[in-house]
């Protein structure tokens, strides 16, 4: 039995329970138990109607829990009333669950955890392992998140932008432990795109697919980072790229540009270049200008300086960099790279070493350290 197929049903089943009058937190627990039961029972005894099976088991679990909890006596009375059959299509309800789990009253880490459990159908243990925290901590984070949103009305329309930020966070965290978070983010965004017609949802899905396509080429066998320009492009997943480009083109045609579409456009231009040298930096630069206009984000202006360096030469890149706050993450790394291209190797070597000290992650630090070491080896007078 396919675990992902099973988890795809999670939000629909949860929505049915909530529609029948179960409160969100208890319904969510009941659905989790039904999923565990399905994993146990289905391999030997597959149901004809998987969703119906899950609804029945989850609803029974919900009633059991409500009975067991004396404090929930009143709610039990509500639940004992014969429920109306749930709506056949769960599309709108699924959308409501995304809104609820990404509710602005939640902190980013709570919204991520709740989304992965209630919409993604992951267990607390899987989420805890993915984020390298104890299971007990993750359980508390999730139950707190559920309490936080307990007063939110289920049928209240939410803000798509908050949902997209949560999914972006899940994707960008990448991969650790048994759960492939990037793949999970793609799956959840794909499911969201099926539930709502919105160019930025399409834009984010395209962005994810285009980056996901490069995954195999991003790391060397020893785990070190391979920068875009040095990646073996034959290892890029062309199916994923084609799908990303198609989704992006359809979104752009609607003329409601947003930051995810612009980011996806940049990723698509990279994907389109047969070799790094053939990259259309002029067009990429135009998209960075668009992105800077849309977001005003200083990190975008930093990435733009890289594009300027490629399109108009390192001097122009350094000039673009000059106006930016040098405390921005990766500012020093960009400066090092531009100085190297400009032929100033001693400055570049010093800046690479400095950038390595400031790097926020291990792979980047190691990569920058190697860059500094590479230049310093060239610069050292022959010791032989």
């Amino acid at each position: 039995m396919n675990d992902v197929l099973l988890r795809t049903l999670t939000p629909e089943v949860l929505a049915v329970l909530v529609r029948r009058g179960a409160d969100f937190a208890a319904a969510e627990d009941a659905v989790q138990e039904a999923l565990i039961e399905a994993v146990r029972v289905w391999p030997d005894d597959p149901p004809r109607e998987p969703k119906g099976w899950l609804v029945t088991v989850a609803w029974r679990r919900f009633l059991d829990m409500a009975r067991a909890d004396a404090a929930r006596r009143r709610r039990e009375d509500v639940a004992e009333e014969e429920p109306l059959p749930g709506p056949a299509s769960g599309v709108d309800d699924t959308l409501q669950l995304y809104f609820l789990c990404a509710h602005p009253s939640l902190t980013p880490s709570s919204a991520v955890a709740l989304t992965l459990r209630a919409v993604g159908g992951l267990t607390t243990r899987q989420i805890a392992e993915a984020y390298l925290v104890p299971e007990a901590t993750m359980a508390q984070r999730i139950s707190r998140a559920k309490r936080t949103v307990s007063g939110v009305r289920f049928d209240q329309p939410g803000d798509v932008a908050t949902v997209l930020r949560v999914l972006y966070l899940v994707f960008n965290e990448g991969y650790s432990g048994d759960v492939d978070l990037a793949a999970e983010a793609v799956r959840l965004t794909r499911q969201l795109a099926a539930a709502i017609d919105h160019p930025e949802v399409a834009g984010l899905l395209a962005l994810m697919l285009l980056h996901h396509a490069r995954r195999a080429a991003r790391t060397a066998p020893d785990g070190s980072l391979v920068p875009l320009a040095e990646q073996d492009r034959s290892r890029w997943d062309t199916t994923s790229i084609a799908e990303g480009v198609e989704i992006l083109q359809a979104a752009l045609a609607r003329d409601r540009l947003g930051e995810f579409q612009a980011q996806a456009a940049i990723a698509a231009l990279h994907a389109d270049a047969p070799t790094a040298a053939e990259t259309d930096w002029v067009q990429i630069l135009e998209w960075y200008d668009e992105l800077a206009r849309l977001t005003g984000n200083p990190i975008v202006r930093l990435n733009r300086a890289v594009a300027v360096g490629e399109a108009d030469g390192p001097r122009a890149g350094l000039a673009a960099l000059a106006g930016l706050d040098d405390s921005l993450p990766r500012h020093t790394a960009v400066a090092a790279w531009l100085h190297e291209r400009d032929g100033d190797l001693p400055t570049a070597a010093r800046l690479y070493a400095d950038a390595a000290r400031k790097a926020p992650n291990l792979a980047e630090r190691d990569h920058l350290t190697r860059q500094a070491a590479r230049l310093n080896t060239h610069l050292r007078p022959d010791e032989a």
Binding site: T107, P108, S109, S110, V112, A113, Y131, L132, V133, P134, A136, T137, M138, Q140, R141, I142, R144, L169, F171, N172, E173, G174, Y175, S176, A182, L207, H211, H212, R215, L225, L228, Q263, I266, A267, H270, N303, V306, A359, P360, N361, L362, A363, E364, R365
Partner: protein, 135 residues
């Protein structure tokens, strides 16, 4: 969603405001301090921010490789001047500000006279995995 290490030092940190070593406190003050630390950890677990916490013995030594077929060389116990780590707590929080806020709370643990120690804690971010999206 970032992990931080809160480091507590036996020696080597700047002097705290309430600078009286623990052996000069009353037994009740020692108990109150320990209770504060336990409550702090329990609270962090409830907020879903707790990862790990350990205390270290002040004793220990330096160890290094001394070549093939030779036992490692040891040197110790530590000299009095050495910066000495007493223990750590690892937290998983949404922002650097939250890490600072929690370290501030931990530093308010009661000491002599039941007054906050105002101990200096070292706050160190973990290096993370690489983000998926880099350009």
């Amino acid at each position: 969603m970032a992990k931080y290490l809160l480091l507590k030092h036996y020696r080597g940190a700047p002097a705290p405001v309430n600078d009286v070593s623990m052996d000069k406190w009353t037994p009740e003050e020692v108990s109150a301090h320990m209770q504060y630390m336990r409550d702090f950890s329990a609270q962090l677990e409830k907020t879903g921010e707790w990862v790990d916490g350990q205390a270290l013995a002040p004793t220990g030594m330096w160890v290094r490789y001394d070549g093939e077929d030779r036992p490692p060389v040891t040197d110790g116990p530590f000299a009095e001047t050495k910066d000495l780590i007493a223990g750590w707590m690892i937290i998983d929080v949404d922002s650097e500000n939250r890490a600072i806020e929690l370290a501030g709370e931990l530093s308010a643990a009661p000491g002599a006279g039941g007054r906050p120690i105002h101990e200096w804690l070292e706050v160190r971010p973990f290096l993370t995995g690489p983000p998926t999206i880099t350009e």
